[in-house]
């Protein structure tokens, strides 16, 4: 574990054991049943006209959803904004240098990886801020922890966090299968024996929602 992560981990353990102040979780979402599409299946788009958000919209949406500044979302080596480094991979143009005047209009092989990098970075920012923010936590708040673990992955607070992320990133209520999948994810993560299962779950559920197709296409 890197020194800065070790310090955070120690702070978390201390907080979880010595800071009993009650922090309310986000309100419970109105979890929706997975739609019963019937024998014909769910109605599909015939046009199929999906567009990738591209560098600026993606960065802005990630920042807004997680209440962080756009320049905090992602930087390579802590210095170089991902928005610039990966601009073309994210579908941007580069008119003044190599003369790429028009976007390609299609995603590149490296685009999904770059989106993931940005998602991990943004989520890491939010999670680590919230873990030390106590009552001022923005997204990941009111989640009962026992040491570095979630006290109850099946508890309503976990559902509330899933709901909060779904509201913030996808602007809708979560479905039952989404809640169930993220609860299972919490248990799967804990089963790996990782030292910080609660943090890693927060990070992972944030990543999964942020890098979902619904969040990066429109």
């Amino acid at each position: 574990m890197r020194p800065e992560r070790l310090a955070l981990f120690a702070a978390l353990v201390a907080l979880s054991s010595a800071c009993p102040a009650k922090v309310d979780p986000p309100p419970q979402p109105m979890v929706m049943e997975v739609p019963d599409a019937g024998p014909s299946g769910l109605a599909r788009s015939a046009r199929g006209n999906l567009r990738f958000k591209g560098p600026e919209r993606l960065t802005t949406d990630f920042a807004t959803a997680l209440s962080i500044k756009t320049d905090e979302v992602c930087s390579e080596l802590g210095k170089y904004p991902c928005l610039s480094v990966h601009n073309v991979a994210l579908g941007g143009v580069d008119p003044y240098g190599p003369g790429l005047y028009e976007p390609s209009g299609v995603t590149a092989v490296t685009t999904p990886l770059v989106v993931e990098r940005i998602a991990w970075s943004a989520c890491s920012q939010r999670v680590d801020k919230d873990l030390v923010a106590g009552v001022n936590a923005v997204v990941f708040r009111g989640l009962p922890m026992t040491g570095p673990k979630l006290t109850n992955p099946d508890g309503p607070e976990v559902t509330a966090i899933v709901g909060e992320l779904t509201h913030r990133v996808l602007a809708r209520e979560p479905y039952t299968n989404e809640v169930a999948t993220y609860v299972k994810l919490a248990k799967d993560i804990e089963a790996t024996g990782t030292a910080e299962p609660a943090r890693e779950w927060m990070l992972s559920v944030c990543f999964a929602v942020l890098s979902s197709t619904e969040a990066v296409f429109y």
Binding site: S121, Q125, I189
Partner: protein, 512 residues
């Protein structure tokens, strides 16, 4: 480091750090970390690349000589004494500057000019050493194009004017030898050289991955590595799995399941895993670890095991985009990531190098302003980087059993837009030229018929004439377009399967 006002990444800070490494100084302290975990190319081939190895891939490097590289300012130059009555009005070169090459049909031009047009940098170039060194791997073919528009002509230089259903040479090579390669076709060039072909029937994998920032692009070749705070690989895999399952069954995913964008995205997610498995974020990373400006190891990253070697060959890799492209091109081939790579200078000024100036505005098209010095400068730029690339490729074993090097299986095609107009004011040394359909192309490879000129130049007009692409016999007076011959020639030389292509027989290009 911060964004400049125009939204672009400022490079000054990084350049300061890189200047220490620019001369290829010892960088062994930087090469630490996870190198032990890296597989050799042979390991990769034994595993992921087995199919490709069985087929023994061949490689194509296309160099887009942007702006119009004139063949009569290089290997087919005409001496003033050969030009007859009009020699003073045509682009002939003083006899003393056109050097013969022993046992070769090629010539080499030497230029000494105190300035490059209105730019006060000296131009002192001599092509002789290059030609002597590589003549046996060099083929020059005269050409008649069909467009003097830069973008259109560039495109036709790589698709033979739609000679084979509109697909580009790079796409043909990616289709032929790129199976199993993570990114069969990487394109770092611009304009028409950067465009994809028009044959929509090809698999998506053969269309080029566009790279505009070769030195920084490898940082995007892993979904999490180097991102502070990201979880371990097994946790990340669990998160991906959960996300992918939900994506597949979500209302959004189902609604747009038939969308081309969605299908492509899902395929690309799978391809991304292949990039990660090869640790390309490390292997292709030319940048050295130089904290505090470039703190690679602090972020769990490292420079390529070949970083020192490549930086020594291309010390201006970060400052000069063409050098950066060449450095990445070598690594893409070495690590069997790509079989077709496209590089080349662009229209922008680049600073750096021995004289502090690497690329004039408009690249070869600076000939509008100062033809002779512009061509000399730019040819020198191309040949210098080709020399370094070939040197690196020769140093890299391809098949221990046969003793082949990577160079033995690589063809470098110096594509260019078109030639230049031939006229000049009487005996002018500094003059401008326009665009002309008449020109020639350079190919380098052990696979081409070396030390060969296909076609020839009429010294009385300085225009080239054509040749029979099958026999190689010159055809004086032939002035019809031969774009399909040149396209076919590259593929013939490489030994591509051209069944059903309808391409002309271009056996004259092939060695043996």
């Amino acid at each position: 480091m911060s964004l400049k006002k125009n939204g672009r990444l400022s490079r000054r800070e990084m350049l300061r750090a890189l200047s220490l490494a620019a001369a290829g100084t010892s960088i062994s302290p930087w090469l630490s970390g996870c190198r032990q975990a890296l597989q050799t190319p042979e390991d990769v081939e034994r595993g992921l690349r087995r199919d490709a190895l069985d087929g023994k891939p061949k490689f194509l490097i296309v160099i887009g000589a942007t702006g119009g590289a004139s063949i009569i300012d290089s290997f087919l130059a005409v001496r003033q004494s050969e030009g007859g009555a009009n020699a003073a009005k045509l682009n002939t070169v003083p006899d003393a500057q056109v050097q013969s090459v022993a046992n070769s049909p090629f010539r080499a031009v030497k230029v000494d000019s105190p300035k490059l047009g209105s730019i006060p940098v000296p131009v002192n170039t001599d092509q002789l050493a290059f030609v002597n060194k590589y003549k046996d791997d060099m083929l020059v073919a005269t050409s008649i194009g069909t467009s003097v528009n830069h973008t259109i002509a560039q495109k036709r230089a790589i698709n033979g004017n739609a000679a084979w259903k509109g697909r580009t040479l790079q796409e043909c090579v990616a289709l032929q030898w790129g199976q199993g390669f993570a990114l069969p076709n990487v394109n770092m060039s611009v304009g028409g050289y950067g465009e994809r072909g028009t044959d929509v029937s090809l698999p998506a994998s053969v269309y080029a991955e566009t790279v505009t920032s070769p030195s920084l692009w490898p940082l995007g070749l892993d979904g999490a590595k180097g991102i502070r705070g990201a979880p371990t690989k097994d946790i990340a895999a669990l998160a991906r799995k959960a996300r992918n399952e939900l994506d597949a069954s979500s209302v959004f995913g189902t609604t747009f399941a038939d969308s081309d964008a969605m299908k492509r995205w899902n395929a690309q997610r799978a391809d991304g895993a292949q990039l990660e498995a090869q640790d390309l974020i490390t292997r292709l990373n030319v940048i050295p670890n130089m904290p505090p400006q470039i703190p690679l190891t602090q972020y769990g990253l490292d420079s390529s095991p070949d970083g020192a070697k490549v930086r020594a060959a291309f010390p201006g890799f970060f400052d000069d985009p063409f050098q950066g492209q060449a450095a990445l091109a070598f690594l893409l081939l070495k690590y069997r990531v790509s079989v077709a790579v496209t590089i080349g200078p662009d229209f922008n000024v680049a600073l750096g190098g021995n004289i502090g100036f690497a690329n004039p505005p408009l690249a070869f098209d600076y000939s509008h302003n100062d033809h002779r010095a512009g061509q000399a400068f730019m040819w020198n730029r191309i040949l210098s980087n080709v020399d370094k690339l070939i040197t690196l490729l020769k140093s890299e074993p391809f098949d221990m059993a046969t003793g082949e090097s990577l160079w033995d299986r690589t063809l470098i095609y110096v594509a260019t837009d078109f030639g230049r107009t031939r006229g000049r004011p009487d005996n002018a040394v500094e003059f401008g030229t326009g665009h002309d359909l008449n020109n020639g192309f350079l190919m380098l490879s052990p696979m081409v018929k070396g030390n060969t000129v296909l076609g020839a130049i009429d010294p009385l007009t300085t225009y080239g004439y054509g040749f029979d692409a099958r026999t190689g016999a010159p055809q004086p007076g032939k002035q019809s377009s031969n774009e399909p011959d040149l396209f076919s020639g590259v593929l013939h030389a490489m030994g591509a399967d051209l069944t059903g292509s309808g391409l002309p027989d271009a056996s004259a290009f092939k060695n043996g």
